[in-house]
Amino acid sequence: MIDSARLKTVFRTIASAMDTHRDRLCALDGVIGDADHGIAMTLGYSAARDAVDALDDTCDPTALLNTAAKSFLNAVGASSGPLYATAFMRAAACVKGKPVVEDADFVAMLQAMAQGMVDRGKAAVGEKTMIDAWLPASNAARTSWDETANLCESLSAAVRAANAGMEATASMVATKGRSARLGERSLGHVDPGAASAVVAIEAMREALCC
């Protein structure tokens, strides 16, 4: 069971993980994009962290996640802003009316987030974007949950799948986002959005399971 206080911890943990990985994410983006992905992600998650921290612990998860969405979006813009903001809004919708997030809800939220990103960015798996990490990760969480009904097992499965998805982006030619114009020249490089997805999902597991 994840109440709003624990959700705040999740945002705090992701924000601090993004800080740690900021320069690496910028460097990855420098190779096939515009070198700012680490900045966007740290800005977005620290804005979300600060905004949800300012809420009362009694605030419901839907309100908290919508607040995260709005603050992330307004701090960032860019590609990551609408993608993550949409993801958080879908997560919020997914737990609408519930006072707390049950473990099963969290798994459903992960899937709603990934679907929100797909809807917003119109990317499919294989186009070398954060979708290549998020979609397999959320699916893996679902499969694991259906087998184990254990959130930490599910999050571990998500982390493994996200990592595999991220690594797979290195051998993809980008067809969405800024690097789509590179064609073959994007080959051999990991997508920064997929890399930050791994950071985010790992931080969720850390916040909820460690």
Binding site: R22, D23, C26, A27, G30, V31, I32, G33, D34, A35, D36, G38, I39, A40, L43, L73, N74, A75, V76, G77, A78, S79, S80, G81, P82, L83, R120, G121, K176, G177, R178, S179, A180, R181, L182, R185
Partner: protein, 335 residues
């Protein structure tokens, strides 16, 4: 080692820049109350006029905010460095400039901008503001001709916004403004070359690596890799390479007229730009194409990146009228 910049705090650079811009240009620009990233022309918007909202990431100055003013754009939504603004400041721009005749959104074709401007357009529709969107796609190096919809918007923005801004200023209806904007975009061709990187104020690290004797052809205005990297050539060779591609697509007839923009990406000085323009003018005169007007300087930059771009706009009478139409902006004037 950090790159050298005259800044205070990298994270505050864009907001501090905007404060400095408003202090410098009080007769031209103001921010929307409560929305400091929404910059509006003091004299632009008026009832019955289509409102032109442009915008995108910071770091390209004078694009976008320098082109806000009477006769050109009515507002610019300002993002972080090289990052689309979020929907909110875009929406605030739309509201501030809406005079009942609709609003035109124009910006470079980047995934981030498309998502944020589209969200803002949906929000504006809920406020009963009719929004049309025209993406600029003038960078011919960024995708092949059969995938024009994938191309980026770069320095040609200047011509395309100028044409659309004139149409809005002439009180054309929304459909006409949109048509002229699309036509301007379809007649504008840019190629660029980069010699050295820039660095973001937050990281102060070069945003790409390039050899001491190399240049990158077709690099984007955010340092996105271009089409090829090679040895640095002479000004004439570089200009020829750009013009060969531009003219192949534009296919002007003898006697046609063009407008020329030779643009610095940041640290390439006027001396080099004018040396390039010498070649542009030689080449055009060789094929009997008349230069109607030429602009040379920093029009669409990538912070302190070294490099330059050449843009040609293929004119007809309508486009000539739009380019000649007077405008009075914070950082640009015509007519």
């Amino acid at each position: 080692m950090q790159t050298k910049k005259i800044i205070n705090d990298g994270g505050r650079a864009v907001d501090e820049m905007l404060e400095g811009v408003l202090a410098a240009h009080p007769r031209h620009l103001r921010a929307v109350a409560g929305s400091p990233r929404s910059i509006v022309a003091v004299a632009g918007p008026r009832v019955g006029k289509v409102g032109l909202v442009i915008g995108g990431g910071s770091g390209h100055e004078p694009t976008f905010l320098g082109f806000v003013g009477k006769g050109l754009a009515d507002a610019a939504a300002i993002g972080n460095v090289f990052a689309s603004p979020p929907p909110d400041p875009i929406l605030e721009c739309a509201k501030a400039v809406s005079g009942g005749a609709g609003v035109l959104f124009m910006y470079g074709n980047y995934a981030g901008d498309v998502m944020n401007f589209d969200m803002a357009a949906e929000m504006a529709a809920m406020d009963d503001i009719e929004v049309r969107t025209v993406l600029t796609t003038d960078d011919i190096a960024s995708a092949p001709r059969d995938q024009i919809e994938k191309r980026r918007g770069v320095a040609g923005n200047f011509f395309i916004f100028k044409a659309a801004g004139a149409a809005c200023d002439l009180l054309y209806p929304l459909e006409e403004c949109e048509r002229i904007a699309r036509k301007a975009n379809s007649r504008t061709y840019t190629m660029g070359v980069a010699l050295s990187p820039c660095s973001l104020p937050q990281t102060r690290k070069p945003n790409f690596e390039i050899g001491a004797d190399e240049m990158e052809i077709g690099m984007g205005i955010h340092g996105e890799p271009g089409i090829s990297r090679g040895e640095l050539k002479t000004a004439d060779q570089i200009t020829d390479e750009m013009l060969d591609r531009i003219l192949a697509e534009m296919a002007p007839a003898r006697g046609d007229r063009v407008a020329v923009l030779v643009n610095s990406l940041g640290s390439t000085p006027l001396m080099e730009l004018y040396i390039m323009n010498r070649r542009v003018s030689q080449r055009l005169s060789e094929i009997g194409v008349e230069v109607h007007a030429t602009w040379v300087g920093n029009y669409c930059t990538s912070l302190e990146m070294a490099g330059a771009s050449v843009t040609l706009m293929h004119l007809d009478d309508e486009m000539t009228t739009m380019l000649d139409h007077p405008c009075d902006c914070a950082m640009f004037r015509a007519g």
